[in-house]
């Protein structure tokens, strides 16, 4: 900002002691202050005292982190891919794009599947949230939001409502009606209120509660009916970008990841942070629980996806390649947990073998970065949303093809 000119008072009453003397213009936490030289000296000494405790806290923190590492390392007897050496290699995948959903006017930022395995909801930078029928490409509902950048959307388990939010700092729930002429925007219910953008939202096991994550560094659990805050989760030291609920059999926990490079596992009832993992080298864009519920994976701007085992309390696999340098924005697992789909900022989707740690296949087709990747509830299709304004639904080719070829030879 060297082309700006501003006034600096160099003689006058001091902000601290009010004596008229030559002033020193200093900036404390971006606030301009004018102190006389004596007050500056005093303040520097005070700063030292504070500095000492800051340093001692930092030292304690560092030594605890080292101790934690040692404890975790003790149990690190073998790597996942070593144990997985004896398993058969995954057979060549034949996944192809079956449907391209066009209709959004701007970048598609998020999508979610309905439990009926055919409907999807997607939200976009153009401020629209669209509910699609994946089989027929029909747009069943289109809801205009009052803000642009609708960064999160979710389908209710019953299929009767959707939740979405973004730069408006709120999460709103819209009940879906069968009557096409009804104005959905009028039925809107504001549920969550954060002090910064909404980065992720998901319904818990019922339509009655919503879990949200926000740029204000917190996650929160809300009651849909009353809009009341049931529990809030503090612990991240920067924006929280993603969250995922544990699969229902394994209890009331969820994992969140954020710009502080940490992935935290929380207990929903107590609000406590039960486990924390910090091995990524950059912002964590997406976190996803493993189908078994005992592990989760995270996708980061450092171009890697990492798998963390919750019982061993450590990272057990890193999915990376020297040729992959673009950040991963989203990931999801296939039904069995053998495949990991990662959506990258280089417009591709890389498919990794979770157990062996190598890349099995790639999906091309998008013309801009992939923002969200989600596998359908029955595991038959994977949908990817992208900044090229489209969504693509991909499936594996059927087996009978191969049988026909066999009989010809």
């Amino acid at each position: 900002m060297c082309d700006q000119t501003f006034m600096a008072i160099t003689f006058g009453p001091c902000d601290n002691c009010s004596t008229t003397s030559p002033l020193m213009n200093i900036y404390i936490k971006n606030e301009p202050t004018n102190y006389c030289s004596f007050c500056v000296e005093m303040m520097a000494c005070q700063g030292l005292l504070k500095g000492e405790t800051l340093a001692s806290l930092k030292n304690e923190s560092e030594s605890l982190k080292k101790k934690l590492e040692e404890e975790r390392a003790k149990l690190h007897d073998v790597e996942l891919h070593q144990v997985a050496e004896k398993i058969e290699v995954v057979s060549a995948l034949s996944i192809k794009t079956r449907r391209v959903l066009k209709g959004h006017g701007n970048k598609v930022l998020c999508m979610d599947w309905c439990k009926d395995k055919r409907r999807l909801v997607s939200s976009s930078q153009d401020g629209k949230v669209i509910v699609w029928d994946g089989f027929t490409l029909n747009k069943e509902h289109a809801v205009p939001m009052p803000c642009t950048w609708v960064m999160a959307c979710a389908y209710a388990p019953s299929g009767c409502a959707i939740a979405c939010g973004g730069l408006d700092n709120k999460c709103s729930v819209y009940p879906l009606s069968l009557d096409k002429n009804e104005n959905l925007a009028a039925k809107k219910k504001s549920v969550a209120m954060h002090t910064n953008y909404l980065s992720g939202c998901t319904f818990t096991n019922s339509d009655m509660q919503i879990l949200t994550s926000s740029g204000d560094g917190t996650c929160a659990l809300w009651d849909v009916e009353s809009g009341q805050l049931l529990q809030s989760f503090h612990g991240h030291t920067a924006d929280v970008l993603s969250l995922d609920l544990a699969p229902s059999e394994t209890g009331n926990t969820f994992v969140s990841g954020g710009c502080d490079k940490k992935a935290n596992v929380w207990d929903m009832r107590s609000g406590q942070n039960v486990q924390s993992f910090e091995t990524h080298e950059s912002d964590i864009n997406c976190v996803k629980y493993y189908p078994s519920g005992d592990a989760f994976a995270s996708a980061s701007d450092d171009a890697t996806c990492r798998l963390y085992d919750l019982r061993a309390d450590r990272e057990v696999a890193v999915y990376q390649k020297d040729s992959i340098i673009f950040g991963v924005s989203s990931l999801d697992f296939s039904l069995s947990g053998r495949l990991l789909f990662g959506g990258y900022n280089d417009y591709t989707i890389n498919i990794w073998d979770v157990l062996k740690g190598n890349r099995v296949s790639m999906l091309f087709g998008h013309e801009n970065r992939v923002s969200t990747v989600k596998v359908s509830p029955d595991g038959t299709s994977v949908c990817s949303a992208s900044w090229d304004n489209t969504l693509r639904v991909s499936r594996a080719l059927g087996m009978p093809w191969l049988l026909v070829l066999y009989s010809l030879t």
């Binding site: 934690l68 149990l75 299709s381």
Partner: protein
């Protein structure tokens, strides 16, 4: 919110969290990996994205092409 907290408060929060975490119960990686592998092996045979979906059950297959003119 984290951005409203001073550095000292953030460090204190991290310290409290670390103290709790040092005492969490842990199990060896090898055993857990084995469990994960057997979980996957059990389900992998039915994974529709690995083995594919037969054409008659695939609603995305679409028509072979051609049109009907009446």
């Amino acid at each position: 919110m984290a951005r409203d907290m001073t550095d000292k408060e953030i460090l204190k929060m991290e310290l409290d969290q670390l103290k709790k975490e040092v005492s969490t119960p842990r199990t060896p990686v090898g055993a857990n990996c084995q469990e994960t592998i057997s979980f996957v092996e059990g389900l992998a045979a039915d994974d529709p994205l690995i083995k594919g979906v037969p054409d008659d059950k695939n609603p995305y297959k679409g028509d072979k092409g051609g049109c009907i003119i009446t």
